[in-house]
Each structure stands twice: as structure tokens, then as C-alpha cells.
Amino acid sequence: MALRRDLAGSRRETPEKADVERETLDVDVLVVGGGPAGLAAAYRLARLNEERGGEPLIVAVLEKARAAGAHMLSGAVLDPSALSELMPDWKSRGAPLDLPVRDDRIYFLTAGRALPFPITPPPLRNHGHYVISLNRLAKWLTEQVEAAGVDVFTGFAGTELLYEGDRVVGVRTGDRGIDRHGERKPAFEPGVDIRAKVTVLADGVRGNLTKTLIRRFSLDAGRSPQSYAIGIKELWDIDPQRLAAGSVIHTMGHPLRFEEFGGGFIYALPDGRLSVGFVAGLDYRDPLFDPHVAFQRFKRHPLVASLLAGGQMVRYGAKALPEGGWHALPRCHLDGALIVGDAAGFLNSMRLKGIHLAMRSGMHAADVAFRAVRENDVSAGRLSEYARLVEAGPIRRELYPVRNVHQSFAGGLLAGLLYSGMSLLTGGWWFRDPMPAHAGHERIRTVAKYFGGAAPPEPPSAPIDRELTFDRLTNVHYSGTRHDENQPSHLLVADTDICRTRCMEEYRNPCTRFCPANVYEIVDADAGEGKRLQINASNCVHCKTCDIMDPYQIIDWVPPEGGGGPSYEGM
């Protein structure tokens, strides 16, 4: 049977050619994803091997990026609490935490002005935290993990979970060397079945494996739907005199309206390097809203533009983040598997921080997996200890009080701010707890509904000058994104007819706006009749926004050939 996926991207069949000789590899614990959660889990397991003695567990990490840390993107300000517990000697091991936060400011932006908040609310205070590059942190953590005896396989994507009955028994890595028509290239290398007693899923926000697991076992039953945001970020080189290294600035308001959730951030790294980014909630109603345009407009605000003027944009990237918080966490333990980090949704959207929680969840998972493997019981019952650790530990202590924050912003910025302030007094309780929430793709309105049948006004735009503001395609160039061009599209659109018929009419193809990498384009149909969807899969920066936000939920993000994707060096 030929593996058939046409360019438009029909849903992927499970290919199994009779003559594929698939290698298998047996490990005790397989960690899927080399981000902070997965690496913390792997490191903790290696430490436990050392501390507890006996036959060491075999631990391996799979990472789809070509190099360690290459798909890591965050602001980022790090709360070092989890790292300090994982590795008390991180300083002497050369952890890339060398810039403490020295100055914390919040502004409310109007179109032309920046109004400073008189005080920084406690959740946003960053004393004792560090301005870091998550890419560097992950690279360094990978080195530590490898030195501790764990195999880290970079350039390998986990494409399928392996089951025995309903028990997860490992992961199959993607076949490599398949051309765009689904045929094998001469260098074809079949994927490997990595069998594990416990599989720790650290595949990140909207992880492709976690997603299938949540669906198969309804792990989110009775939970609030997960809500997401998209973060878009650039690194700039500016005159170091303009903003002292260690400065942290957050903004609310412009260019967002009260109905949209999000804000900007500016973190000053050493040597005049600036991390400038914008987070927009993926639960906006306006079908014409464009997060990339919002980011460009943010940069044109005098507060930001005056910092960036004369500087140079040197990197670009984007990534979704889970913002649903406590109520949106799925069940994270099942037979043979645990879910950690952003894949589960351990992120504090009120503090805008998730790295420390991701690491913490990885550490809990490691503790539980270690004991479970040693006791030869990896059932969901045994692994449910993970949920107890989360409940009893710092994760709940931090997430529970802010459990309704993101949902409260669904009522608009003012309601959100009011709630956030009140919740500090009530410990997070509100008249409705949990507050009702809807998945973002259900909130987006049709053009007709949103504009009440009237012709929509021209959406706000930002002139592209290629100095301060950039078009998506130019930005993508600065993400270092590269895929083998000759491979099947990894963005599977179940029904491209919807795109050119219903979606065009109802939502005006929002994929062309919410994708920050120009993957989706509506172009003239080949025969010159009407339009068609063009998928530029090789631009994809793996942010997952399309998988999350598409109103018909017909886009399925699956991993491209291992090694493909952005290269977020220094991000």
C-alpha cells in the first residue's frame, strides 16, 4: 500500500508497508520532548538512578528539533525555584542564568501614550528571577542530562503512541526519507519503535501525541476546555544605553481592545539585546483579528518604537501557550504514561510563567515513574501518585488561587483586571467557580455575526517598513526555519473545500491571519477559477496555533520529518 498524502494534505493514514523492517529499542522511561519539563524529568531520573543505587533505569529523551533547544521559545523570565531543587548546584554547573531581574515595570498603553502602573502587582513582581534565553537553558540542561547518562535523541519526532490494549507502551518515531508524494527516497529510514515501561509526554503546548491521548481517553472530561494564547517574539540588537540589562517591562492595552486578552513584553538581555514580544489570547471573537499585525502595531507604539529605533531585528519566532490554568488541566496519568509541562497546561497565566512549573511537573513525574518501574507497576492507579504530588505540592499552591484569571478576561480587560485584583483577596474564589470557559475556536465569530451583518470596517493594519515592522515571510526568514522541502505536508487539512467555500464566506480564512509564519495562503486556483488554499508547510515554526484556532477544527498538525522546524538560537 502506498503511503498517500497529496499536497493539500489528506488526513494521514497509518502507513505500514509490508516490507518495512522496524527496529525496536527498549527503555524503562521514555521522555518525549526535550523542553524544560522533559529535561527536568530526565535529569531527575538520572539523579534517582545514582541516589537509589541498584540496576539503573534506562532513560531516553526524544526531541524533534535538529539540535537541543532549537524549538524552545519563551520570553523569558525564570523563577529559579524548581531548578534550584532539581539541581542545587546549577550555578557551579554553568547554568545560563546570569542576569537577575533588576527593574520591573508595567504600563497601560493607549494609542499614543504609556501610563505606568504605580505599583507592580505582587504576581508580576520578579525579584529573585532571571532574564534568560529558554533556548540556552534547554541546551545547557540537555548537556547536563547527557552527562548524567541519558540518551538524548535530537532530530527524531514521535509520531505515534504504541499501545498494548489501552496501555501506552512507547512511541514510534517518524519515518524519514519520504518524498512529497509519499514515496520512499533512496535514503529512506523507517521510524523506530521505542518501547518504554513509562512514557513521559513532554511534547509541549498542544503536543501531537498528548492530543491523541486526550481524545482517545477523554482525559479532559469534566474539565474546562484548555484556552491558549499565541506569543510572537523578536530579538533585537539596540544601543545598550537605552535600557539597562535586566529590565523587565510588561504592557497591557494598545493595540488590543478591551475585548481581547494579551499584552506586550520587553526584556533587556546583556549587550543591547532586547527580547520584544506580544501575547494575544487565542479566544478572540473578531474573525479579522491578526496577532502578527497586533505585534507590529505594538512595536510602532512610541514606548517600543523609541527603544527599537535604529536597532536591528535579529531573530523571530512564535509559539502558542496554554493559559487555561488549573481548571483546564486534563487527567495527566494513565496506564503507562504521564503528561507534563505545557503539554498538560502547567502554566501560570497570571504570572506569565510556565518554565518553573513545567520543570516541577517533570520532577514529580520522574519521582513517580521511577518508583513505579522499580515496583513493576505502571498502571494508571500506581501513576496517579503524580496527581497527588501535583495536588499536594507547589504546583497547586501556585495555580489554584489564580484558577479563574484567564477565564475572567473572557469578559474583557476591565472585568479581568477587576477579577485579578479581587482574587488576590478571595484566594481565587468567584461567584462561579470554575468560571465558565469556551475553547477559543468556539468563541471566534463569523464575519456576519461579529459585524452584525454590516460590512466589516477595514481592520487595523501596520505599514511594513522592513525596519521596525516586517511581513510574515521576512519574519520567518529570521526564525531559521528549515524543513526538507521534499516531504509530505505536515499540516493535514481534512477538507480543503471548506476553506474555499464555507470558511472564506464565514470567517474570511482566519488561518491566513492567525498563522504567524505565512503557512496558509489563499491564492488563485490553478485553472484561474476561484481560489484555493495554498499550504507553505516548510514555513511552519511549529507554534500549533492553526491546530488550536481553526474554527472548523479540520487542521491537524503532525510532526514533519525529524530535524525540521525553526532554529531558535538565543531565543
Binding site: L473, R482, N486, D524, Q534, N536, S538
Partner: protein, 321 residues
């Protein structure tokens, strides 16, 4: 004195030789041209037409056909006797094959693939591309003379080579070659159709972008390429759509090219495309949109509908042919 090493094969001079002589002439220094082979008197006389001080015929039976061992041995002897200050080569595959070994044997520096030479703060520096043409570098040769440098084909114009009022003297430079010490045994060259298109070697390229609208319009660009004796290439969307094979894609995740002429039709000039062709010597852009970034790198621009402009270019080419 500048020594220019000429190149010949099968009784014909490589035309790049004239370009290198022209580059040497621009320095105003006295020039000697060396021609290496078994029987090169006739070609040496041809070279003597250029405005140079002298032509050296470096002859030995063991120097035909070309071998790196033979050429290194011969030219090392020529250098020792002639004591040039600078030795220039055309940057051909043959130069790349032996000149680095020659320089290493003599303990001299060899700056390859230059596009120009200039005087900077009183010193002669060489300009060469680096990082696949993303940057240029001014390179100062160090160490004892002679310094070696090779010039990219097309860096100078062959017809800029000045002819002398009278032919320059041709002198035989005797060299001793131990034929048995030549380790390479070359066979006769043969021509073979390449399996893959090698756009990097193309002198002229017609590249087509989204402006072509549909696969059915490709012949418009194909005909233009044919008329210009150019290779057909494309920007990514064209290859992504499968209208042209991927080995014709220019830019990131495609080829990086630097032809003499790059004619971009219907290409807007996304940065992903520009990085692959910015190094072309002459860039022509035909595009409907006057603000398209391709015009920022173009030498000549026509703002207009390619379906009108391209046939007009064809007509103009035929009209003057």
C-alpha cells in the same frame, strides 16, 4: 612584476586568461604571462598580442596533459627564476586543482576567487566573496612575496585587455620535470549530460515567480530562457506547487546562484529568494508592483505585466539578432 598564469586545453586558450591579464593591467605593473604545456608556442604567440612585457612558454612533454603534480613542479621552478611580486590566475577548476598546492609548496599565500583588487591604506588588498556571497571581504595577503590570487571568471572583461603596439617577446622557460614523479594519470576528458541541473554554473538565468499565475503560462518564461540561452529557475511557490522541479528553486532551501544575468519575472523578491540570487552581476526585474522588494536589488526594472513585457523582450531580441 606580476606573473599571470595562462590556461589552455587542447590547443585553445581559456578565454578567462584574457580577463586575468586585464586585471593585471589595471595595476599598472609590468606583466609576464606564463603558459604551461607540451607545445604552446602558437598559443604563446597569441598571448603576445596583449600589452604585456613578456610571455613565457613553459614547455615540457610531461606537462601534457595537465596534472597537478606536473604543474606544481613546473611553476615552482618558474617562480624561483622569475621572482614575481604577485601571481594571478583565472579561478578555474584547474587553478583550484593545483594552485593551492603550489602556494603551499612555496610557503606563499593564495587568495582565491577574487572579484577585484584595490589599494587600501597604501596596501594591495583583494576583494572576495565569503559566506556564499553574503559578504565581501577585503583581504590583505601576508608573508613574503609573491602573493597568489585568482580572479573569478567574469570579474574582469576579456575585451578590456589592452593590446600591445607590437607583439611582446616570447621566451622559452626551461623546466626540469621527472615524468615518473607525476602521480596522477589522467584520461581523456569526456562530455556527459549532467543528471541534475546545476544552476550554480549557469551564466544566465530566467527566474519565474508567482506572477506567472499558472503552470499553463510557464512556456512564456521557458521561451524567454531559450531565447537568452539561459537556464530556467523559479522562486519557491512555483516549485512548491510542483510546476517546476525542486532543483530549479533559487533561494533558501534551494540554490544560491551568481550568474552574469538574472532576469526575474513575476517575482516579488521575498528575502528567502533574495538570499539566493543577490550575488548575480546584473539583475533585471519585471513585476507589476513597483514596490516589490525585488526592485531593491535589481539593476534594471520594468514595472508592467509580464505577459506583455516578456513577449516584447522576445520580439526585441529577435529584432536585433
Amino acid at each position: 612584476m606580476i606573473l599571470v598564469v595562462a590556461e589552455q586545453r587542447g590547443g585553445a586558450l581559456n578565454p578567462a586568461t584574457w580577463e586575468t591579464v586585464a586585471a593585471a593591467q589595471q595595476t599598472g605593473e609590468s606583466i609576464t604571462v606564463a603558459l604551461v604545456g607540451a607545445d604552446v608556442q602558437k598559443l604563446a604567440a597569441e598571448l603576445a598580442a596583449a600589452e604585456v612585457a613578456e610571455v613565457l612558454a613553459v614547455e615540457h612533454d610531461a606537462l601534457e596533459p595537465y596534472t597537478p603534480d606536473g604543474f606544481v613542479a613546473a611553476l615552482a621552478q618558474v617562480m624561483e627564476k622569475a621572482c614575481p611580486e604577485l601571481v594571478l590566475f583565472p579561478h578555474t577548476y584547474q587553478t583550484r586543482d593545483y594552485a593551492p598546492a603550489l602556494a603551499a609548496r612555496l610557503g606563499r599565500v593564495f587568495i582565491p576567487d577574487c572579484i577585484a583588487s584595490k589599494v587600501r591604506d597604501g596596501q594591495r588588498v583583494f576583494v572576495r566573496p565569503m559566506f556564499q556571497g553574503k559578504f565581501m571581504a577585503d583581504v590583505l595577503p601576508q608573508g613574503p612575496a609573491p602573493h597568489f590570487a585568482s580572479f573569478q571568471i567574469g570579474a574582469c572583461r576579456a575585451d578590456a585587455c589592452a593590446r600591445g603596439a607590437a607583439p611582446a617577446p616570447v621566451r622559452e622557460a626551461a623546466v626540469e620535470i621527472d615524468a615518473a614523479a607525476i602521480r596522477q594519470r589522467p584520461e581523456a576528458p569526456f562530455k556527459e549530460a549532467k543528471q541534475a541541473v546545476d544552476l550554480t554554473q549557469a551564466e544566465r538565468i530566467v527566474a519565474v515567480g508567482r506572477g506567472i499565475k499558472g503552470q499553463e503560462h510557464l512556456p512564456v518564461a521557458q521561451d524567454l530562457a531559450k531565447a537568452l540561452d539561459a537556464e530556467l529557475a523559479a522562486s519557491r511557490p512555483i516549485c512548491d506547487s510542483g510546476w517546476l522541479p525542486m532543483d530549479r528553486q533559487i533561494g533558501s532551501s534551494g540554490q544560491t546562484v551568481a550568474p552574469k544575468l538574472y532576469l526575474a519575472v513575476g517575482i516579488s523578491g521575498a528575502i528567502q529568494h533574495l538570499v539566493g540570487m543577490k550575488g548575480a552581476r546584473t539583475i533585471v526585474a519585471v513585476n507589476k508592483d513597483a514596490d516589490a522588494p525585488i526592485f531593491e536589488v535589481a539593476d534594471y526594472g520594468i514595472v508592467g505585466d509580464l505577459f506583455e513585457v516578456v513577449p516584447a523582450i522576445m520580439a526585441a531580441l529577435e529584432g536585433e539578432a
